[in-house]
Amino acid sequence: MQIPIDVIPERAGHLEVVEIPACDRRTLPGVVSQRACLLYGARWMLAAIRDAVHLIHGPVGCAYYSGTVRKKNYRVFSTALGEKEIVFGAGQKLEDAIREAVSLRPRSSAVLVYTTCAVGLIGEDVEAICKRASASLGLPVVPVNCPGFGGVSQGKGHDVAAAALLEHFIGRAPAGPPLENSVNILGEFDVQGDLKEIEQLLQRLGLNIICAVSGRATVENMARAHRAGLNIVHCGRTGRWLAQKMEERFGIPWRKVSFFGLAETAAALQAIAAFFNRPREAAWVEKEAETARQRALSYLRRLAGRRVALFFGASRMDSMARAFGELGMEVVLCGSQFGCREDYTESRRCLGRGTLMIDDAHQRELEEFLHRYRPDLLVGGTRERFMAHKMGIPFLVFPQETSPYAGFNGFVNLAREVAALVGAPVWRLGNSGFSRKEGEEMVVKHVRYMERGINENERSSL
């Protein structure tokens, strides 16, 4: 089958209709990629650790942007490097900054020092400085080596952060017998209350969450994480590696589950209940799923047969694709900024052949796609949102902005919000209006890559 949109030849393998797209490769420069950097990925994982000082070692901009993760504002500390430090070295400033940060926030239980591009390039021995500071302050000072240019995307940043967590935080408390009916959730980021939904469900099974990496993690509860009976992996990309390592090291078994969509949530709860040998406690699950389906029914009616395109972070592709399937929508695109082979394989298995998959789609490819397919909904991050709006296509921000999508209640929220987006009157208003002379002529004027025609381009401009 042919790729239905205009693609620059170098990108050909990254778009697939039948196979798994090429992934985990370097981004083409200049194509307006939607990817982010190593620091971004590391912050995504580590921001939620509440009792640690987060110190961004680099120029002030990196700290400024690191203050917001998943639409929550965090207090960040920074060394705010200037020209002087770039030329003469920033080691002394880092040492001072660590000491001051701890004295200004005396109840902190750790310091996380994030390195940035600038620090990576001037070649400071951050590790040694952290070690020294740790000895003199008497609390862990952990270097997170995440200069933005490392790796091909933010995905590597998740890995760096996971490694730091494993090495410095998880299971640091003395060993002991497993805490009864206790689980960890790995790769759950507590966007807009997702974690609360999941926690309520697990509590109904009689389970407790020791720590959620990294939606509600503290230094203290991560230290006890090795005493859980089971690790629940929610986001595979960020949780799977950690789960494997914890199994090796502490012998904790793990399950990859998803709490998006009714069937997935029910299956997840059944599997977890079975693991803890508490099938009786899970008797309510099916009923609850059915209740939620009834609650969502009026929305589902409005969504049946609509087409949706998904483009966001890697690991939620397949579970969200299933959830949208349950909404009665057809998934016409499934793409990710930094998916790995495993993510795409899972999604392909779930979607079958014929669905377009794009790895690391850039702005122009998404625009082309929206023009050709005119899906009823595009799902992605804030950066793609307004582009879709300009083309008159409804857009759902995911990770979400308003209410939790996880669990049974989350599914109802998702159904309601998608129905609201798709049915909003604005899309009719945008598309009709007054007829304009140029508007009539200009239905869709494409500038094909191969034509390379700047004149074409001029004609097509509004």
Binding site: V60, A118, H371, R383, S403
Partner: protein, 492 residues
């Protein structure tokens, strides 16, 4: 007013406040010597961001222009995210996608290949190359890289098409300044690269607005129109970052508007250049003055009565056109509003934070309202800021307690100082002050960059007389909302 639970989404308030140490009941005293940021190595919640953002902002104000960021992907992603959140508009910014190899071998391949890919995919009318920390530290020779990129482009698409796309280089090593300076450098880089004199005066004036929002630029154009003055607005984001939704759109999508390349070339033939924000745009105005003798009028920001007066007077002086009755009436309406609300504003304690130019403009305006500034925090350090603030206070005949002037400090310092104040009625600043406002239980009026947690502020002017009226209304109503949360008891 204690918010325990956010009613709509069911998120407990403590989860939104994440890890802020509350002021009460378990607020812990900080070591006093570490509160002023000048005494610290560590910066806590900076009130400024990096240079490339300012340069990207500028490039997005040029017609069909795309910024190309010579650095790692995050430098672009974070800024795009920031712009999208503020303007609610797509922001197309290309990245050179630095990975480890670029850090080791330099960014030449990334630039040459990147420019080529950008051109064949998007066919922009101008490319603004914006450097970052990493490209500056590894010492990329950008001038020769751009030459190579051009040569490569000529080979591939033919010299005629290749040479029609100007490439403007803006050097913005993030560690050497803030976004304000990034914009400033861009203003200079654009006129330096593009402006040429043809000896024929065009009778226009140049306006470099600085980091003002689309609504502000529209208001400035309104003033110019009523004065009957033709102008070239450099970095005109009024349409590019506030575009209409009217599908079907062509691919690739470009927003309407923006400063045309031809207009920038023509800037050397103008009567004068107004840099409305002294810290953001002065460099371009000064360059035109030195090189082509185009007179530079730097500041003050046209905020409030006197700020706008100064702008219009300078326009009158340069163009010889009188200030029309219509604008005098607008002025009169603003002054009338000041009279109508003075009992709410007089002697109220206010703290202002944000970019230095915004703080300067707003401070002058709140002094016109009879408010008493407690703290004035400019996020970007500047040689002139303290002096300017003192001059404004002196000019207004301010007799209250002298305010704390923070020149380039952080939000921690600002907040800790405000906590110690016996009284504070209002904070004026950007969205970064939300936490402080909630904690101190003081209303916040949102002004300046960035505002990402409310809708419509990017379209609502604060400049000009009409903008002044809107800002005044916002200030008064915010205080009323806090003082009289029950509307039934309140009559203006």
């Amino acid at each position: 007013m204690q918010l325990k639970e956010i009613p709509v989404t069911g998120i407990p308030y403590d989860q939104i406040k994440i890890e802020k140490v509350p002021a009460a009941p378990e607020y812990c005293e900080r070591p006093a010597e570490l509160i002023p940021s000048a005494n610290r190595a560590v910066v806590i919640n900076p009130n400024r961001t990096c240079m490339p953002l300012g340069a990207m902002w500028a490039v997005l104000g040029v017609r069909k222009a795309i910024p190309f960021v010579q650095g790692a992907q995050g430098c672009t992603t974070y800024v795009r995210y920031t712009f999208c959140r503020i303007f609610k508009e797509p922001a197309v910014i290309a990245t050179a996608s630095f990975h480890e190899d670029a850090a080791v071998f330099g960014g030449r391949r990334n630039l040459v290949e990147g420019i080529r890919n950008l051109v064949v995919r998007y066919w922009p009318e101008l490319i603004g190359v914006v450097t970052t920390c990493s490209s500056e530290i590894i010492g990329d020779d950008m001038v020769s890289f751009i030459k190579m990129a051009r040569a490569n482009l000529r080979k591939e698409i033919g010299p005629e098409k290749a040479d029609r796309i100007p490439i403007v280089l803006v050097n913005t090593p993030s560690f050497a300044g803030s976004h304000v300076e990034g914009y400033d450098r861009a203003s200079r880089a654009f006129v330096e690269t593009l402006a040429t004199t043809r000896g024929e005066p065009n009778g226009k004036v140049n306006i470099i607005p600085g980091l003002f929002y689309p609504g502000d630029i529209r208001e400035i154009k309104h003033l110019l129109r009523h004065m009957g003055v033709e102008a070239i607005v450099l970095f005109d984001i009024s349409d590019t970052l506030d575009a209409p939704l009217e599908p079907p759109m062509s691919v690739p999508y470009y927003p309407p508007g923006g400063t045309a390349v031809g207009e920038i070339r023509d800037m050397a033939n103008s009567l004068a250049t107004f840099a409305l924000q002294p810290h953001a745009g002065q460099a371009g105005a000064r360059y035109l003055e030195r090189k082509y003798g185009v007179r530079a009028v730097v500041g003050p920001p046209p905020v409030g009565v006197q700020g706008t007066d100064a702008f219009l007077k300078a326009l009158r002086e340069i163009t010889g056109k009188p200030i029309p009755e219509s604008l005098l009436q607008e002025r009169g309406r603003l002054v009338d509003s000041l009279a109508d609300t003075l009992h709410h504003t007089m002697m109220k304690k206010v703290a202002v934070m944000g970019d230095p130019d915004i703080v300067l403009g707003v401070t002058r305006f709140v002094l016109e309202m009879g408010m008493e500034p407690v703290a004035l925090a400019g996020g970007t350090a500047s040689k002139t800021f303290v002096h300017d603030v003192e001059a404004i206070l002196a000019e207004a005949g301010y007799e209250g307690e002298p305010p704390l002037i923070i020149n380039g400090g952080d939000l921690f310092e600002f907040e800790e100082y405000l906590k110690k104040q016996p009284r504070l009625d209002l904070i004026i600043g950007n969205s970064r002050a939300v936490d402080i406002s909630r904690e101190l239980q003081v209303p916040l009026v949102r002004v300046g960059f960035p505002i990402y947690d409310r809708f419509g502020y990017q379209k609502r002017p604060i400049v000009g007389y009409r903008g002044g009226e809107m800002l005044l209304a916002e200030i008064v109503n915010s205080m009323l909302d806090y003082q009289y949360p029950d509307d039934r008891t309140q009559q203006l």
